[in-house]
Each structure stands twice: as structure tokens, then as C-alpha cells.
Symmetry: C2
Subunit: 604 residues, 2 copies
């Protein structure tokens, strides 16, 4: 049976020491957030994930979600766990107090999301999607929706979904066919098919609020292959009136659920909209002739997607964390061969698997990634909070958070999959057997590289949009932030084994950015061919910098005689792993980037 222990020590370290929680009380929602309160939340959330969500992860995979007679049923135990989850308020931590949430900073909710996804990704997605949908409704909904629909989503009584993809298009939403026609009463009637809708139907909540994008047809009833008339709508499963009262079933039906490689307990639905009543979100364009044009509600949808992208990056970390924990335990139980330097347990017939350097390498790879990535995510969540504050560095913080979003989504899900595979490898042949549970992490984790914008699309977003915007302000901000820290710490001898590699990585990243600025303009295919490698390069450098910062803290605590020596030594070992074995990828990635697109485009 797989295990999971919430990594509370590490969250404490990152939140209290790396981010210095005590210095953050001026930020919105951080006012009354004490270390004790964080401790209380994370301890209880962790316990809930360990004791309620994790035990139904493997059984949920085995059983899968059901679809019979048009109705979706979640696996055994999900209903009870969902009720308990809502009652404890884990889904509403970061929601506004005005609508029934706890008003915590997003950072706390993200930490809880990491644990929930480690324990049970299929389960965590149900409330996760609801949160994303609720956020979008809060940003774009009419007052009555905020007052009478939103609180039910925040409490978990109702769920929410994101409906974007259609059978013939996901990445390219210009091709969307779902249409919404305005009615005399101001509502719309929507028809079309959406696919890959996570939590599109389930038996956990009384109602589901679908957040849907669709096109408004022109005066001839035609829709066009562009984005000009794409709008954002709320389409409830059961109709709601302005007081929030549930009425008749709306014209939304479930066409089926997908049979998938993993996250089998998550119902991935085909939703058919058949003249469904829909409410257009966001302010309606005023001007005559713009009645159909993309409304301001679309910004809400993009906001929802950004949050979701960070959420998926976290899932990459979650899967790696739980896979790592299980592999580490296995390597401490299984006996195989002898240590290369002579028997470690001469009285036993064989040594533990953990004595073997190659096994340690795989475990340390996973650990160094998980803890470094977790720090980057928390730091990005902090930047989001700063961006919403009145601090002078708010603009920089916003740029950094925006820049990190595709990196977190793509690099962390690639690495998460890599780490889960290494963990599986530690099990040898036993890893391939379903009962042992580790192969589920590989199957579940694989989706993270694909959904919410495939990782190649994230790389194009980084290279094609984020880098150049505002004259390159975002990468500049990152380079200045990192090089500022490096200068500050250049003189510290004990830190030089961390500072120097990050310096090297940053140098390469800056050169690569210059190369892209020069060549990507002249030949966009060069940017396209370089995008994935460039994103990985930025990810390695950023995680490396975070490791240098954490190593500094750990070293200082060791120097000060801190009692938790194994923890701090562990940090130094993980930091050094990244410097020794990940930073060397930087020049290699730059070399690949410089290869350009000529040969790739010549491929027929």
C-alpha cells in the first residue's frame, strides 16, 4: 500500500524562513497570518490528506468513475471525503470572506492543494476546478451571481467547471463551434459540444456551475473561425434564479466520460449543450456594433486559466513528492546486493537498496526537484500577493509571477513526471505491478504535461509572449533579481559552491535570451524550435537560485548550532545536487537553442 506524509517541515521552512512570513503582514490577506495559524492550517490539512484522501486514491484508480444512463458516479468513498473536505473548509481557504471564504492568501491554499494532489490527484481536481471557476465568477459575474451563486461554490455545496475544449480544437480556440444566441430576456441559449471537462458531472454536489466559452453568431447566424466573438458564460447544470434557487434541469447533458491512462477517478466528461440557458459574463460592450464582440468577461477566463496553470505545475510537484516518499521507503526495506565499498549490513544476507549510488541518485533527483520547485511556487505566490499590494516593487512582482507561470506549468510537470518515473524505477519490476501503487503516480502525473495548455504551448507562450512584452521587462526583472542576490552573496566562501553555479546558469540564460531576441525576430521558427529548451533553461536557473537561497539559510542555521541538523544538512545536499547535476544542462540547452530551426523545418 502506498504511503503519504504531508511535508510539513518543508512548508514551515519555506513559508516562515525563506519567505519570512513575519515581514509580510502589510500584504493583502497576510495581516493576521501568524506562523501559528499557518502551522494549524497546514497540520490539519496535511492530516486530512493523509487520513482521508490518500486511502481512497488507489481504490479510486482501480474502480474509476462510472457513467451509466447518462449519470456520473464517483468511486467509493469520494462522496464522504468530499463532504468532509467541504466541512473542514479546505476548498475555501483563499476565497473572499465576503462570500464565505476564509480570506487567506493564495499561498496557503496552494500549499494545501499540493498536499491534496499528492494524496489524491483525481479527488483534488473536483474542488480544484470549483475554485478556479469560482475565482472567474467572482471576477466577472453579475451581482446576483456573486451574492447567490458564488457562496454555494465556495462552500462546496455546488461545484464549478471550465469548459473550453471541443472535439476538433483545444489549443486553437479560434476554431470553436459552440454558439450562444441572445434571447429577449438578456440570457443566451447555448448549443455545442465540449470535451475533456474535468468534473463535468459527478455525484458530489447538487448543482454544477459550468464556466463556458462560446461564440455569438453574426446577424446571419454564422460563426467565424476567429476570436472576435468569443464570450464567457455561466451555464448551470440546474437552472438558478437570481435568488440562487435551483430550478429545472438545464440543457446540459453528459455524453460520456473518457477512458484514460490515469486520473481514472476523475470524471472527464463530454458535455452536450443543447439550447442551454447561459448568462454572459463581464460587462457587455456598450458601443453599437460591438454587441457580439469578445466581452471583458474573457479576461476572467484568462485569469482562471493562469491560476489553473500554476495549479497544474503544483500537481507536477505533488506527484513527484508522493512518488519520492514511496520510493525512499522501498529503498529502505528492499535488500539487494552489497554496497560497492563492502557490506553495509554484514549480518544480513544483503544490504538495503539505499546503499547503491545509482538508487540514491534517482531519489536525490526527485527530492532536489520537489523542494526547489516548491520554493519557486511559494515565491511566485508571494509575488502575486505583492503585485496586489501597494509596495513599490509591485510591478516587478507582477512581471515575475507572470513570467514564472508557464515555467511552473511546463518545467515542473516535466520534472514531476521524470521524478515519478525514477521513483518507479527504484522499485524494479515491482514498480510495474499495479498493487504497489507507484505506477499510478506515473500514469496520473502524465496528464499534467498535457492539459491546461500542453507544455510545448507553454514554451511558446514564454518565448513568444512573455519574453518580449514591455520591452523585455519580465526577463529583465528576473535577471536583476537573481544577479542582485548573487552580488550580495558573492563574498561568502561557504556559499560559493552554490553561488557560482547559479551565476554560470544565469549567464547562459541571459545569453540565450539575447540570442532569442535577435534570432526569433528574424525567423520566428528559430524561437519555436528553441522554446522548449529555453523554458527548461529558465526553470533550471530559477530553481537553482532558490536552492542557493535555501542553502544560505540552512548553512546559517548549521553555523548557529541549530538542533535540526539532518534537515539542514539535507537542504545542503539537495542544493548541491542541483548545482552539480542540473546546472550543467544549461550550456547544453543553449547549444540546442542555437542550432536553430533550419534542420527541423527541413524534416519532411
Amino acid at each position: 500500500m502506498p504511503i503519504y506524509r504531508a511535508p510539513l517541515d518543508d512548508f514551515r521552512f519555506v513559508i516562515n524562513e525563506l519567505l519570512e512570513l513575519e515581514t509580510l503582514h502589510d500584504l493583502p490577506h497576510f495581516g493576521e497570518l501568524s506562523a501559528d495559524l499557518v502551522e494549524d492550517i497546514l497540520t490539519n490539512a496535511g492530516k486530512f490528506c493523509e487520513e482521508v484522501l490518500q486511502p481512497i486514491n488507489q481504490s479510486g484508480d482501480e474502480e474509476g468513475a462510472h457513467f451509466e444512463n447518462g449519470v456520473v458516479r464517483t468511486p467509493k468513498g469520494f462522496k464522504e471525503a468530499y463532504r468532509a473536505y467541504c466541512e473542514a473548509g479546505w476548498g475555501s481557504l483563499a476565497s473572499s470572506e465576503k462570500f464565505g471564504g476564509a480570506g487567506m492568501p493564495a499561498l496557503i491554499a496552494l500549499a494545501v492543494a499540493e498536499m491534496a494532489n499528492s494524496a489524491n490527484q483525481s479527488f483534488a481536481m473536483y474542488p480544484g476546478l470549483t475554485s478556479a471557476a469560482a475565482g472567474a465568477l467572482a471576477a466577472t459575474g453579475a451581482d446576483w451571481m456573486k451574492e447567490n451563486v458564488l457562496p454555494k461554490m465556495i462552500s462546496g455545496e455546488w461545484a464549478g467547471t471550465m469548459c473550453l475544449t471541443e472535439p476538433h480544437c483545444g489549443t486553437d480556440l479560434r476554431l470553436m463551434k459552440t454558439r450562444a444566441v441572445e434571447q429577449p430576456d438578456g440570457t443566451y441559449r447555448m448549443s455545442g459540444t465540449k470535451i475533456f471537462i474535468s468534473g463535468g458531472d459527478q455525484d458530489l454536489t447538487d448543482n454544477i456551475i459550468h464556466m463556458v466559452i462560446a461564440k455569438i453568431p453574426d446577424e446571419n447566424g454564422q460563426i467565424h473561425d476567429d476570436l472576435s466573438t468569443v464570450n464567457f458564460f455561466m451555464v448551470p447544470k440546474f437552472l438558478v434564479d437570481e435568488t440562487g434557487k435551483m430550478g429545472a434541469r438545464n440543457g446540459v447533458s453528459t455524453g460520456g466520460i473518457e477512458k484514460k491512462m490515469g486520473i481514472k477517478a476523475q470524471a472527464t466528461c463530454v458535455l452536450n449543450f443543447d439550447d442551454a440557458v447561459a448568462w454572459r459574463l463581464g460587462p457587455k460592450p456598450d458601443k453599437e456594433g460591438e454587441a457580439r464582440s469578445a466581452s471583458a468577461g474573457m479576461a476572467g477566463m484568462f485569469g482562471m486559466m493562469n491560476t489553473a496553470r500554476i495549479g497544474v505545475g503544483i500537481q507536477g510537484v505533488s506527484i513527484a513528492e508522493v512518488a519520492y516518499q514511496n520510493a525512499l521507503a522501498y529503498a529502505h526495506e528492499r535488500r539487494v546486493g552489497r554496497a560497492l565499498t563492502g557490506a553495509a549490513d554484514p549480518d544480513k544476507p544483503a544490504d538495503l537498496e539505499i546503499v547503491h549510488p545509482d538508487v540514491r541518485r534517482m531519489l536525490l533527483h526527485a527530492r532536489s526537484f520537489v523542494e526547489g520547485a516548491r520554493a519557486v511556487i511559494m515565491w511566485t505566490a508571494l509575488n502575486m500577493a505583492i503585485a496586489d499590494s501597494s509596495r513599490p516593487e509591485k510591478n516587478t512582482a507582477g512581471l515575475l509571477a507572470d513570467l514564472m507561470t508557464p515555467v511552473i506549468k511546463a518545467f515542473f510537470t516535466d520534472m514531476g513526471f521524470e521524478a515519478a518515473n525514477m521513483a518507479m524505477q527504484v522499485y524494479g519490476g515491482h514498480g510495474y505491478i499495479r498493487d504497489n501503487g507507484v505506477e499510478q503516480f506515473v500514469r496520473d502525473g502524465r496528464i499534467n504535461q498535457t492539459y491546461e495548455g500542453a507544455n510545448g504551448v507553454q514554451a511558446m507562450d514564454l518565448v513568444g509572449r512573455k519574453l518580449g512584452r514591455k520591452g523585455g521587462a519580465a526577463p529583465m526583472a528576473l535577471f536583476q533579481t537573481i544577479s542582485g542576490w548573487l552580488s550580495e552573496n558573492a563574498g561568502d566562501e561557504k556559499l560559493s559552491r552554490y553561488v557560482k553555479p547559479v551565476e554560470r546558469g544565469l549567464g547562459v540564460l541571459q545569453q540565450a535570451t539575447m540570442w532569442l531576441a535577435q534570432h526569433g525576430m528574424a525567423n520566428p521558427n528559430d524561437a519555436g524550435a528553441a522554446a522548449t529548451d529555453y523554458l527548461r533553461l529558465m526553470g533550471i536557473v530559477t530553481v537553482g537560485w532558490m536552492w542557493a537561497r535555501m542553502a544560505k539559510l540552512a548553512q546559517a542555521k548549521l553555523d548557529a548550532g541549530d538542533s535540526n541538523k539532518p534537515f539542514n544538512n539535507g537542504k545542503l545536499v539537495s542544493a548541491r545536487y542541483w548545482m552539480e547535476r542540473m546546472i550543467p544542462e544549461c550550456p547544453m540547452l543553449f547549444e540546442r537553442i542555437q542550432a536553430g530551426s533550419e534542420n527541423i523545418m527541413a524534416f519532411e
Copy 2:
């Protein structure tokens, strides 16, 4: 529905032109092997794989192997396909004519194995294991076994298995508990449990010949945690007499089949041996007091394992090939976005996915790997044939084949999995859906990194055994062979874009080998920590060299006005991909190697 087309053009190129079939008639089994005969075999085998094996691959995965009332049943269609496979003689191509085989070189059988595994890995394993077992029986069996058992295995009437792993040990066979006690009639009685036995039971053949390793207990009935009394046995499912007549059921029963991540149509069995009649293989030690010691039959087992390791490396290529073919087709059907340089199909609402550089990069990665790896495998098979010949270079050829075995097993299965994942990524979210079939390649291909010695164990075999043996003769042979070719072609300007990168890679590989020789001796953990990176380095350089050789051929044909321009241009593009994007890994891998083991061993 997934597709598969046998890559006949590429086999023609590799066998006829790269290996120069016409110059090989002096080698054993190559005497009468004409290009026409190869063409005939590969065309028909390819057709069989496409038309018979591939159509039951996805249904076999969906249905899985069954286990009811102690009996294993294969999925629908497997029985009929197996009968047709045997009738066509695909399983006995390389077996000795003396025992009913076709007497072809192994190289031809390996080419057919690649196609069969692309079409249906689960299926191909049933006859694949039989071949391996038959080879071991041919090497170690008594005359009556060769005369009356072996021909039935070669014809496919009976199957064979390899029984090594036990519940508590796989890699470390010292810990084995299965025991075989000698009887007055010279046979043995075997008791114990073996797990992960591919094809351990099935409904395809009348009998199964298990090739089993077990220990002979000492005079007190004790067995020891070492290899001193490990012996190799034949244990049939149904007893056989010396005339080959089948008798009563032997004491071998199926305890169950494993539920696995993939290769679900392959019955991976738990086999219980309960006082089963067993025949010890190989000559019995003559000397008094050595009656229980490891017999010469063990060499037969290791021979079987070596063949199996090459076979698994081929499975890595097979999975990548079929995944690539499907992704390529998908990228030519699916429309998404616009080419970065302007619409490629302005009259269509979107361009084909293949216009995007990042998609092309993923496809080219898979293709460059598949064709390069295929060439290395065929070259290694040729070296095996030369090693069995009377050519002066026979010793060198044997060393090269031996050195390449762990590289083929580990690097090609790692890359095969990587390529299958990239192919899946080309499908976006649709890749995660079972119906589309590409995720099956990822699940099936994952086992290849684990079974037949996990890839980390292969790396230790390379670094700990193969490198140093006979004063480093094997790596020397490789370096001399490659550098000889490089010198010969140093002056060719058109080739320099291939020659120079291989030269660079080879230089790094030689330095890394020196580093290992120096440091691995002083600290074996340094060798252990470096093993996986070193194996990959050797793999990249060897494939790179093979690409340089193929580029030379393709360039010469283009210069001579060869009519098959797309084929030859494709070779140049794939070769250049390897030079531009894989060779740059070499210095990075060497840097990791030089990081040593200190930090990895400090990890707690």
C-alpha cells in the same frame, strides 16, 4: 485506431547498404542470404505484423490476459494469431536447421522481432521467450532434449519461459530460495516460487518448457545466500519422456497473473513449483565434492539473458517506431494555429500541426533515435556473427557486441520511452485517451526499462564489468573502430558536419572512460554514481557514429543522383538532428560524471 507500417525501406538501407550484405557471405548462416531473400522475408513478416498482430494489440490491452480457476487464457485473437505465426515460421527463422529452424542469421530474426514488437509487444513476448529458452536448451540440454524437446519449441508447438525472479529477489539472485533435490534416477525435484514469469502460462501451446534456476541444498538440506550451488534446470509443465512424449501434469502451477501498468495481454505469472520434476542442464561437474556446484549450464542461462537483453533493447526501438508513426500521422491530420511564418494553408481555418517547430522537434527526436538505434542493433548483430566466424577481426567483434549489450538494453529503452512520450505529447489531450492508442505505447514501453535487469543494473554491468575486463579491451576496440572511421573521413568537407560532432563526442567519451578508470578504482561509489550518465554518453556517441556512417551513404547517393531523394534527404536531416541536439549532451554528462559520489552518498 492506431496504425503500423513495417519500416522496410529502412531495413533495406541498413542491411544491404550500411552493413553491405553482399560482402557477408563468408559469415556463418549468411552463405546463401541474398538481398532478394531478405526482401522476401522482411516483406512477408512485415505484412504479417501489420495485418495479423497489430489489429489485436489494442483489443488485447483492453481485454488483458485472464486467470480463472488456475488457468490462463490469452485475449481474443491471440490463439489464431499464434498458430499463424508458427505456421509462417516467424519464430524459427534463426534456429538451427538441424532442429527444424530456417538457419538464418540472428540479424534477420532481430529485424522481424522489431516489427512484431512494434505491432504487438504483449504478443511478441510469447514466442520471444520461447526462442530465448530454446537457445538455452540448445546450448545446455542433453541429446534427447535437443532431439525431442527442442524441435517442438522451435516449431512453436511448445513454448518456453525463463524463470529467475523470486518474490524477494530479482537482481540479487544470491538470495534465491527455490531448491532442487537430486533423485536416485538422476532427475531433481524442485520446490519454490518464481514471479514475473512472462508467458508462464497461456492457452497457445500444449506444453511449456520452463528454464529455471534453483539451488541444490547441502547434505543438511540447507541452501545458502550465495551463488555457489545455483544450477539451471528444465522443468516442463507436462512431463516429457526421452522420446518427447507428453505425460502427466508436472508439479508446476500458476498462482496468479499480475495486474500491470501495461503489456496487459502478456500473462506475467506467479509460478509455484511443488516437488516438480526437473532436469539439470549442462554437464554435471565430475569431481567429487562438486556435485552441487554451479554447473556449466549456468553459462547457458547467461547466454539466454544476453540475447534477451538485446531483445529488450529492440523493444525500446519498436515502441518508439510505432508511437512515432502514429504521432506523425496525427500531426498531418490535426489542424491547430498558424505557422509562425504565416499561414501555410490560408484557405483552411488552421494549419496542420506539423507546421509547428516544437512538434517537428519531438517527431524528429523520435525518428533520429529509432533509425540510429536500429542501425546500432543491426551492426551489433553483425558483430555477433563475425565473432562466430573465422575472420581475423572476430575477437574485436565479440568485444564490441558484448560492450554494446547493456547500452542497447538501457539507452534504447530509456530513449524509446522518451520517444513514446513525445509522440503522445503530439496528440495533446487526446493522447491521454485510451481509444487513441498512443498512451498504450507509453505504458507498454515502460516495462522495457525495468525487466531483464533494470537500466541502472545495466549501467553497473557496463561500468563495473565490461569496461575493465581484459585491460579495457572492449572500450579500446570501440574507440579504435570509431576513430579509425573518423580519420578515414576527416577530409570530406560535406561530411564534416557529422564527422566533427562525433569526434567531439568520442573525445568526451574517452576522457570519461579515463576518469572512471582512475576514480572508479579508488572509490567504487564514484563509478556507481557515474554509471547511468556514462552509459548514456556511450550510447549517444555510438548512435552518432552510426548516423555519420549513414549520412555518408545518403550523401553519396544524393551526389550520384539517386532517385529516392526524400529517403536520402531524410537520413541527412535525422543525422543532423543527432549532431545538433544529442551530441551536446556529451560534455554535460561528463560534467555530471565528474561530480562523483560524495554528495550522493551524503544524502540521508
